[in-house]
Each structure stands twice: as C-alpha cells, then as structure tokens.
C-alpha cells in the first residue's frame, strides 16, 4: 500500500519537474531577445559581474567591493546604466571558476574575481574570453594577459595611521590586536598598525592574538575580552569575525576600536575612533572607463592613501582631540608624500 503511494508521488513529482523544465527552457530566450532592443535605445549598459568568497554582508572584504559596486551603479544612473550580477560565498575555487566562466560566456563586460584564491582560475579563463575584462584581487599579478587587471590594497598604510592614533589615545599604554589568521591583508594591516604604534611611542605594548579562523566570532570576542582583562583600552583587528571584538569593547564600555576594510562606526558609535576604508569606487570607474576605451587589462591597481583608494574614516560620533587628529593627519600626509615608509 505504502509502496504504491510512493510511486504515485514520484510520478507526480517527475511530471511537475518535466513541465517546469519544458516551460523554463523557453524563458531565457525570450528575455535575451528583449534585452538588445532595450539597450540599443538607451545608453549602452555596462554589465559587471562579481564573484566573492564570502557574503555581501560580511562587514569586511566582500562587503567593501559590494558597496563600491552599488555606489558606482548609483552614480552612473542605476541598473539601466550598469547591470550588476553577483555570486557570493564562493569559497570553493572550482565553483568560483565555473561562475567566472559562466558570467564571461553570458556576455558580461567586466568580471570581477574578488578573491586571491581565484588567481589560477582567472589565468585560465581570461585566455578564452579575450573581449572580456577580468579584474582580480587582491594580488599584483596580471599574468601578462592583456585583459586582466589586478588590484590590491596597501592595508599596512591605514594600519600605520590607525596605530599612530591608537598610540596617542591609550591611557593604560596597552593595545590589543585580535586577528584571524596571520596571512593576507590581515597580516599587512596589523604589521602596519604595530609600526605606527612603535613609531609614535615604542614603550607601548601591543599584544596580538590570532583565533585561527576568519569566521569564529565567539572566539574573537573571547580574545578581545582577554585583551581587555589584561588592561588593553584600545583594540583593533581584521576579518568579518571582528564584530565580536567590537561587541566586547562595547560591553566593557570604554575600550576604543580601530577598524579596517570597511567603516565600522555603526557597530559601536561611541567607541570606534576611525576605520581604514577600502574604497574601490575610483578604481572601478577607472576600469570601466578603460574598458570602454578599449584597454581591457594589463594594469595593477593598488589602493593607497595617496590615490584615495584607502581612506581613513574618522567617526563623527567620537570626539577626537585636535592634537591626536593632527598626528593622524600628519601620518597620512607622511605616507602620501613618501616621507614615511610602511613595510607590508
């Protein structure tokens, strides 16, 4: 009896699925037919796709690119001027490769591979789509291909500035750093931060903890609490799990926070002093312009304080003493004009 019921259910399901596929098959063709007419009438729409290793809401790496894309789209006039398609949480590299290839074959003008692990995928796929621009980060290698742009952020620069500010603000002369894994821009940011602290006052102690994970928020919070219990009154750190550290700072009430990758002021409006913000918008606009002009790749972009790709976003909600801000601005100027050299 039960067996019969199952087969009926299966048959129904197969029928539904078959119907779905049959109907679905015709749809994409219809939409494709509509598109060219629409875009021929208006200004040519630029189509950008982005593949990201984490969520667009990660308050860190992926979100920085996602918000930059949306900002540029708004500036250009909205979806009719620029179409954006995205794939997030692509931590599996072959899946990301499939996504990159899929977008390229769908006729996207620019495909952004926003993850350093996507390098070899970009290298292979770019050769097959010579008319598509591939932007890849964070890294400095364009593989000698004419349609690949590479981009990276000199995170150590903003780290240095944050370090200078932190050194001036700490009263207990203990600063804590809560990091994920000592690689990539987490490492470079924190190395720059320590250089900034030591250059301002070498007697201040900076202690670092690494949680071994980019996503373990609870452990990051515990690390921050440990730093605070040890006497640190200024904290910084990197990765999406750093929201845990900010929470711990908030709990204590008087622990200051310096952020990176995106503006973290909203998470602790009275405690976040400043954040190094990755502003990809200028770079994106430049890539779009170059692509339209016919240069499909071959350049490495580095976000720096000098070119405005890195910004120090002071939190208006935190009242920063004038002399401290001056020191920060001096550091920015020093890095910009080259008098201060920060090692990544």
């Amino acid at each position: 009896m039960k067996g019969k019921g199952v087969f009926r259910l299966v048959g129904l399901a197969i029928a539904v699925a078959a119907l779905a596929i049959a109907c679905g098959g015709s749809k994409p063709a219809a939409t494709a037919a509509q598109k060219p007419a629409a875009s021929a009438a208006a200004v040519k729409q630029i189509k950008i796709a982005v593949v990201m290793p984490s969520a667009t809401t990660d308050a860190a790496f992926s979100q920085s690119m996602w918000s930059a894309l949306n900002a540029v789209q708004a500036e250009m006039g909205g979806p009719s001027a620029m179409e954006i398609k995205y794939s997030e949480n692509m931590y599996n590299v072959p899946d990301a490769a499939a996504a990159i290839r899929d977008y390229a074959s769908q006729g996207f003008d620019i495909v952004i591979a926003h993850g350093s692990q996507y390098g070899s995928s970009v290298q292979e796929i770019a050769k097959d789509f010579p008319k598509v621009t591939f932007a890849w980060g964070t890294d400095v290698n364009t593989f000698g291909l004419p349609n690949v742009y590479a981009y990276t952020a000199a995170a150590e620069q903003g780290g240095y500035v944050n370090g200078v500010l932190a050194a001036k603000l700490t009263k207990t002369r203990k600063i804590g750093v809560t990091g994920p894994v000592e690689v990539g821009d987490a490492k470079t940011y924190i190395d720059g931060f320590v250089q900034g602290v030591k250059a301002t006052d070498s007697s201040i102690s900076v202690s670092k903890t690494w949680t071994g994970s980019f996503s373990d928020v609870a452990l990051m919070a515990a690390a921050a609490k440990t730093q605070i219990a040890n006497g640190a009154d200024v904290l910084t750190g990197s990765s999406q799990s750093v929201v845990g550290s900010i929470g711990a700072a908030k709990d204590k009430g008087n622990v200051l926070w310096f952020g990176t990758q995106s503006d973290q002021a909203s998470l602790a409006p009275s405690l976040v002093v400043a954040s190094q913000v990755y502003d990809w918008t200028a770079m994106l606009k430049d890539i779009i312009a170059k692509h339209e002009a016919g240069t499909l790749g071959g350049i490495t972009y580095t976000l720096t304080l000098a070119n405005g790709g890195l910004k120090i976003a002071y939190n208006p909600g935190y009242s920063l003493a004038a002399d401290v801000k001056a020191a920060g601005d001096a550091a920015i100027k020093g890095i910009t004009d080259g008098s201060i050299k920060v090692q990544p």
């Binding site: 067996g3 259910l9 399901a13 109907c23 072959p94 070899s120 690689v183 990539g184 071994g212």
Partner: protein, 401 residues
C-alpha cells in the same frame, strides 16, 4: 524476526531486540547472515527502489525550495531550469559535475567502508586536509622528479597521510574505547590549524612573501605532477578515472576478500563476528584507517588535479557532503558512482541557479539541507522492501528444505 540489509544503510541494532535474541541462538538467523554475506545475486527491485526513492526525496525538497524561491520573488521555473541546464546542459557543466563528483566519490568510498563496519567517519574534512598537505609538500620537495614517478608517489603519500588521520581515531577507538565521533571532530579542527600553521610559514608561496601580499596559499606545484586534463578548457582531470577505478577496487575488496568480508560481518552482526573469531575493534580501526586514506586521496586530487597548489578552503565541505553521497549510493561502492555524479550535478546546478535568479547562496544551502533530510528519510521504504524480500526468501528457503 531479523531485519538486515545487504545494500542499504545498516540497521544492526535490531539484533539486540529481545525477541530476536531468542532466535539468534537458532542457527537459521546466523546462517541468514552468512547467506547475506555470501549472496551476490542482484535484487533488481531493491536497486530500482534505491534509485527512485532518493530521487523522490530530492524532488520533494525542490518543491519546498520552489516555495522559498517564490517568497524571494524569484521565478522557480526559471531557477530549476537553470539548475538542470547548469549541471548537464553544456560540456562545461557536465565536466564541472564530474569534477565535483570525483572528491565526493573518493570520500564516499571511504565512508562506505567505514559504515559497513558500523563506524561513522565524520573526520573527512581533516583527512582531506592531511592528504592535501602531503600532496603539496611532497611534490614541492621532490620537484625535479619525473611525472610518471611523481604522480603515483604523491597519490600514495597523500593516501597514507589521510590514512594516518583516520588511524588515530581508529586506534583510539580500538584500544581505548574513545568514541570516533568525538575524536574525528577534534582531529578535523587540529588538521585545519595544522594547515593554517603551514600556510602561514613554511609552505607559504615565496612569491607572495616577496610581493608583500602574504596570501594563504602554497607555491604552485611543479607542472609534471599536475593531473592531465581530460577535456580541454575544462577542469575535468584524470583523477576522475582514478576514482572510478577505485570504486570497482573497493567493491572487489568488500565482497571478494577476506578482510572485506570481515568488515561487513562486523557491521551486520558484531556479536556473531566476535564468536566466529573476527577481531571487531581491529576491523573497525582498519575501516576507519581506510576511510581516512580515501578522503586523503580526495585531498590529493583536489590539489594536483584542480587547484595545483594548497590553499585554504579546499575541502569545500566534501568531508560532509561525501557522507550524503555515500547514503545516496546506498553505501555500495558501485552505487556511489551514479550517486556522486547526481549529487555533484545538484551542487553545480544549484550554483548556476543562484547565478540565474540572483538569490542569496544561503537559499541554496537550505534547499540542499532539505534534500539531505528528505533523502535520508526516504530510505525507510527501501529498507522495508528489503526486509519483506528477506522474509519472503527465508520462507521460500524453509519451504524448499
């Protein structure tokens, strides 16, 4: 009345059922087990059911997923059409399906062996990492060796590394009665940190250090250890063939060798096995070691076939999805071949679906979770069928005596 399976998930606990304890003293039940172990006649009804029922489970899950899609203002029909298109609608899609199926098959083979001995191996993630680390360190160290030597030796080293990662929980279980779920969960975390440790330091790509990017990846492996690509401009590599061959090898191992027989016996009836002289803890430790080896091999082919270097995130959850594939394949090495292809296709199609209708990837994860839930639930009817056949056969057997 015993309910035991040849090819489905093992339900051995019922041997401890009081009513059967009486019967287990009778020779019929033990000979029933022996018959199970020896019989190799195919039960076609069972096979068909093992294929249809998981499919039904998948479809029910997809229907619920359609509701979720509608709630997200996405078109479910376009979505699922994209899913099918993505998995099998193009050469690239098909090869991607096979690329994903390869590690699923390898991990699944190991899970199969372990499950047959009634050991659940959730240490796949750590074992994959162990194999991947070995498969990176070895070619980088012996970078001048020729390909025909380097590839098989790398595979061997990677298999052994994974086997060690399975051996530790295995021996802890055999000698010290440490539960394998506990030890494998711990070993997973330890392996991850070990990989972090190596990628931050000794194995970090010197080029990344020089360029100041400090990326969490190793140097690219020497070209001669890269697995050959089977279809140009795709990621499909010869590891798929290796996996296929190994599936047959595991089948022969489990059904045609003494050790394989012992492993299966231990899973079907540990008490009877013990009485007939099989060392149960050793068999279980061995099955866990082998499971680790196969998972390690999955790590190897991902490194030398797909990524060509070690980098974080390369396990992609195969340690867990391999368990699902094993269940879909009814824990039979040969059934695992279509099962891993089907599941691989599901994963590939799901990504295509996400791209087509631009829904958050979390929806895909949720739908896949429903698929696993419903497919695991569908197995019930397969077992009932098997049990009914079992009873009918025993009755026939008795009648003919």
């Amino acid at each position: 009345m015993k309910q035991t399976n040849r090819e489905g998930p093992v339900v051995p606990g019922l041997s401890e059922d009081i009513s059967t304890k009486k019967e287990s003293r009778s020779s019929m039940s033990t000979s029933g087990d022996v018959q199970l172990l020896q019989r190799s006649r195919f039960d076609w009804g069972r096979v068909v059911l093992n294929v249809l029922l998981p499919t039904a489970g998948v479809l029910v899950a997809l229907l619920i997923g359609a509701v979720l899609l509608l709630l997200l203002k996405a078109d479910p029909i376009a979505a699922y059409a994209a899913m099918v298109r993505g998995a099998v609608g193009s050469t690239f899609g098909l090869t991607q399906t096979l690329v994903k199926a390869t590690p699923l098959l390898l991990v699944g083979l190991g899970i199969c062996i372990a499950f047959r001995a009634n050991v659940i191996n959730i240490g796949g993630e750590g074992q994959i990492i162990a194999g991947a680390i070995a498969a990176t360190w070895f070619p980088l160290t012996f970078s001048t060796a020729p390909g025909w030597l380097l590839i098989p030796s790398t595979m061997f080293v990677g298999f052994m590394a994974g086997a060690v990662w399975g051996f530790v929980p295995g021996i802890l279980k055999a000698r010290l009665n440490v539960n394998e779920i506990l030890s494998t969960i711990m070993m997973n975390a330890i392996a991850l940190q070990l990989m972090n440790l190596l990628l931050q330091g000794p194995l970090m790509d010197p080029a990344a250090v020089k360029a100041g990017t400090f990326l969490a990846q190793s140097a690219q492996l020497p070209h001669q250890v890269w697995l050959a690509r089977l279809v140009p401009r795709t990621l499909l590599h010869s590891g798929a063939i290796v996996a296929l061959v190994l599936a047959f090898a595991v089948y022969l191992f489990l059904w045609r060798t003494t050790i394989g027989y012992q492993i299966r016996a231990v899973g079907l009836n540990p008490d009877a096995s013990r009485y007939s002289g099989i060392n149960v803890p050793t068999a279980q430790a061995l099955s866990l070691t082998l499971a680790g080896g196969f998972a390690g091999l999955a790590g190897v082919v991902e490194v030398i076939g797909v990524q060509h270097r070690l980098l974080e995130g390369l396990t992609s959850g195969y340690g867990f999805t391999g368990i699902v594939a094993a269940l879909l394949g009814s824990l039979h090495p040969l059934g695992l071949i279509p099962a891993s292809i089907l599941f691989g296709g599901l994963l590939v199609g799901a990504d295509t679906m996400q791209r087509a209708v631009q829904v958050p990837s979390a929806l895909i994860t949720a739908i896949l979770g429903l698929v696993v839930l419903f497919v695991s639930g569908a197995a019930l009817w397969s077992r009932k069928w098997a049990a009914r056949r079992m009873i009918a056969e025993q009755r026939d057997g008795q009648a003919s005596l």
